[in-house]
Symmetry: C2
Subunit: 190 residues, 2 copies
């Protein structure tokens, strides 16, 4: 029954990239047609409308983020060391020239309370927090794990905003060491 169509993943990748950089409101459908190479009718048949395409872009980004996080935290010998490495890669990311923070974070702040999208995004953020929490619960008590996970999330949000207008990598690293002093920073190479 299904006929060949455009590469949905490819289109979502391009749409996500544009929404991420420009934001929801500032991204026009016309710009999306150009960047994806699709014509109006195709987009509206496949995604319904602008909000539908945006929602799928959020899903594309959100699922990828959660999967990446889970993989990263299950591979490492110790959980805490894995968290350190992950945070360090976020710091590196934040000093790149084309850095545009986190798509989920930006969208969460941009979207009005009216849209159901806001809760949808919040769910992804909570899922990420739970990944940290569950991993930490294998070392600490449940309450302590939850509290530490929350502190990690606060720091991630913090540096993703801080890194958006400041380029001092040292300052950001110092803040992580100071605020998350219970992590094994010293055990990492350089």
């Amino acid at each position: 029954m299904p006929k060949i169509q455009f590469d949905r993943q490819d289109v979502l990748e391009k749409a996500t990239s544009l929404f991420w950089r420009e934001g929801y409101s500032a991204t026009s459908m016309q710009a999306l047609f150009e960047v994806t190479g699709l014509k109006p009718g195709s987009v509206y048949l496949a995604f319904g409308n602008k909000e539908g395409l945006f929602k799928e872009s959020i899903d594309f980004y959100g699922k990828r983020s959660v999967e990446y996080l889970q993989a990263k935290l299950s591979n490492d010998d110790t959980i805490e060391q894995g968290i350190c490495e992950l945070l360090l890669s976020l710091v590196d990311e934040s000093t790149q020239t084309d850095y545009c923070s986190c798509f989920l974070l930006k969208s969460q702040l941009e979207l009005d309370n009216q849209t159901s999208l806001k809760q949808h995004i919040a769910d992804y953020l909570l899922t990420i927090e739970n990944v940290y929490s569950n991993r930490l619960a294998t070392i600490y008590g449940e309450e302590e794990a939850k509290q530490k996970a929350a502190s990690i999330m606060v720091h991630i949000f913090g540096i993703r905003v801080y890194g958006y207008h400041t380029n001092s990598k040292e300052q950001i690293l110092g803040s992580l060491r100071l605020g998350l002093s219970w992590l094994p920073w010293s055990q990492l190479a350089h």
Copy 2:
């Protein structure tokens, strides 16, 4: 020479409120006309264009924030206790129903790199960081004061995002106590 005009402060207060809630792109000039009670011509004569009105709204909010911060941190007997109280008020703020994070933070993330506004906003955020840094430098060494100020900023950004989609006041408070453990949390009433 000057003829009576509309109350500029009042207009800026209303425009700020709308920009803050909706964001720059999602706020239409028509909506600004309605909320301020001004007609197109008046706005364009007084502020130039949409970006001009937005810039003055940022100034209105930014200056108010810096002044409030300076007043708060100079009145209290000890600096660190003052910082604690300030952070606690931010936590309270974040659990209110009409909470819409920080205007500077939201705008910083929404605006594209192309506009000069981005640096203008960054300047306000750096000014705020310097207020913390300078006050802390009276207790700690200069480097340590700077590092602690950066950590405070990371926490403020963090809870202003975290509080946007989570309502658990206890979790946010716990994160502050955990990440900023060098502050005198226990010396505060309740």
